[in-house]
Amino acid sequence: MIGAIRGVLRAGFSLIERPFERLFTPQLNPLAQLGALGFFFFWIVAVSGIYLFIFFDTGIERAYLSVEHMTQGYWFHAGVMRSFHRYASDLMVVMVVVHLLREFSLDHYRGVRWFSWITGLPIIWLLYASGITGYWLVWDKLAQYVAIVSSELLDWLPIFGEPIARNFISTGTLTSRFFSLMVFMHVAVPLFLLFIMWIHIIRISRPKMNPPRTLALLSLTALLAVSIWKPALSQGHADLAKVPAEVGLDWLYLPLYPLTNIWGNGAVWAFLGAFSLMIALMPWLPPLRRAKPAQIDLEHCNGCARCAEDCPYEAIRMVRRTDDMPFPTQAEVNPSLCVSCGICVGACPSSTPFRRSEGLKTGIDLPDYSLNELRERVIAAAGTLTKPGRVLVLACEHGAAGGRLDGTVVMPCVAMMPPSLIDFVLSRDLADGVVVAGCAESACYNRLGIQWTEQRFAGQRDPYLRARVPRDRIATIWASALEVTKAQSAIASFAATIARLPPLRLRSPLATSIASGPGKNREPAEVKGDS
């Protein structure tokens, strides 16, 4: 059931993401920057809030008048800031909701990712509490409605002796001190929200906290344009002798408020409780089956820290050396954070398939899918390639080619593949070309797999793909699991191109020890120029 919902959502996101990628480029795609945009809008809300507070006056009469004064009298700065404050808060809700749905659709909430998922829940509550207390402060008709419905909701809980809602039954029952309390709440709750936002990303390596500059500038300009086109306005002074019969409701912050009238307060609390409980339990419904975490082989680890640098989950750290090797540090894996994506294997300088030691060993490896096994699968898959223009596909299990196309070698992430594997495939005449097929570019399952792979190929990140490897024999295809046809046609087109190319010069035979596999006859082979 949950899997089906996830599939439908993924298909929906995939439909939107591709046009967005084309228009914005994968780097600027707002759908891949939802968390960063959430932070960005938080800062806009914070700065505009501080600015508005300079002009704001607490008090039953003064609150409304001061807001009106800044909106009408100084619309060109304070008024615009008010609109920034309102719309950036609304946009933050949109970012949070879409971010939640997208991460759910990408299955980014189970396994070790439970922590970020669970800490997202208080963020939702605090975000709504921040927004609702803010609407209260304006003390217009909407504020009156919000105040009454919010306090009625709170009064339903058996924690307050005297109903809070009685504060709003007539003018005499409300004091200005109540506004001072609300101002305090409206400052304290967002500060706590920021703290939880920090906790939310604490277990993520290189979290995106700032959107790309171009996207930030575009958003800021669009926000300014919308603020001028449709400034945020008050809805008339609150009058406790009258019912705010008709209000312009903020449907992003207050969608449940009308339901208190239809369902009743108890049912709304039940809905909120059930929603929160469902979100909290989702990482274990069902739990993610995890492969064994990466393991360090100290004999092959020189403490270079590339694995720790590349791990997207902060699962590896460098610690003081525990053996007598002459290196100051060694890598250490935190099993509770490791998702077994294998990116560390691809980052390790010891991970070279050219090695002919008995059973290919490397500094860090996956027990359930070792580098040795990867090399064996590559050799076996290459053996099935017969057509002219032999193309070997090295695919991420979450992308279009992951287990859905014949003749592919599937990995947990394409960044598990050390770049030297491509050199190995081409130089050992295992194939005429190599396709590296990963997830959609702005939806990498392991967050940084695509980025690291591209940087390694471009010689910008260790370990590099050697310069001798002809780049025209390598193709990268970034496509989601729903774009199998697109991947198939791209592979076919690449194979046709490869078939027209002249034979590759750097070819040398596959060493017998490697070709025969582990445990079989191993004879030293002449290999020139390989490390």
Partner: protein, 167 residues
Amino acid sequence: MTKVLRLAGQFVVIAALFAGVAWLSDRPVYRQIPEGSGMMMLTFVHGADRKGECRRLTPEEIAKLAPNMRRVQDCPRVRRSLYVELDIDGRKIYAADLPPTGIAGDGPSRVYQRFVMPAGKYDVAVRMRDTARADGFDHERHGTVDFAPSQMFVIDYRPESGEFIFR
């Protein structure tokens, strides 16, 4: 040129999304009560009498108490429920036993009821029983109310003066 066009396209898409969000920030308008109607509210907080009478302790009972806890009377904490009725034009629209609040049942009873009604003139009668009496009422008030559209008409009770207030 292509870059400028692409940038313009990006801006248009973002601005359109933001405009949609801005529109949703106060549209569509929500009406919580039908046009031409108002709200009548019955709300107050009041503690009924205690369930049991205070009893004078005997000298022996007082002597048994710790020196710092000695008192003359033993008064049960638990309060009675309040009984409230509200009639509009002779028709009973609300009648309830309101239990005391608090874990020990010693807090005041409370009522907070809203009634959405069309504007017009109404005969309003509210009655309350807060003692041990079995029938009749300890407090009541009748009156005619000219109820305007969107009006918030509150029926409150002041324990200090022991009377209902219409406002």
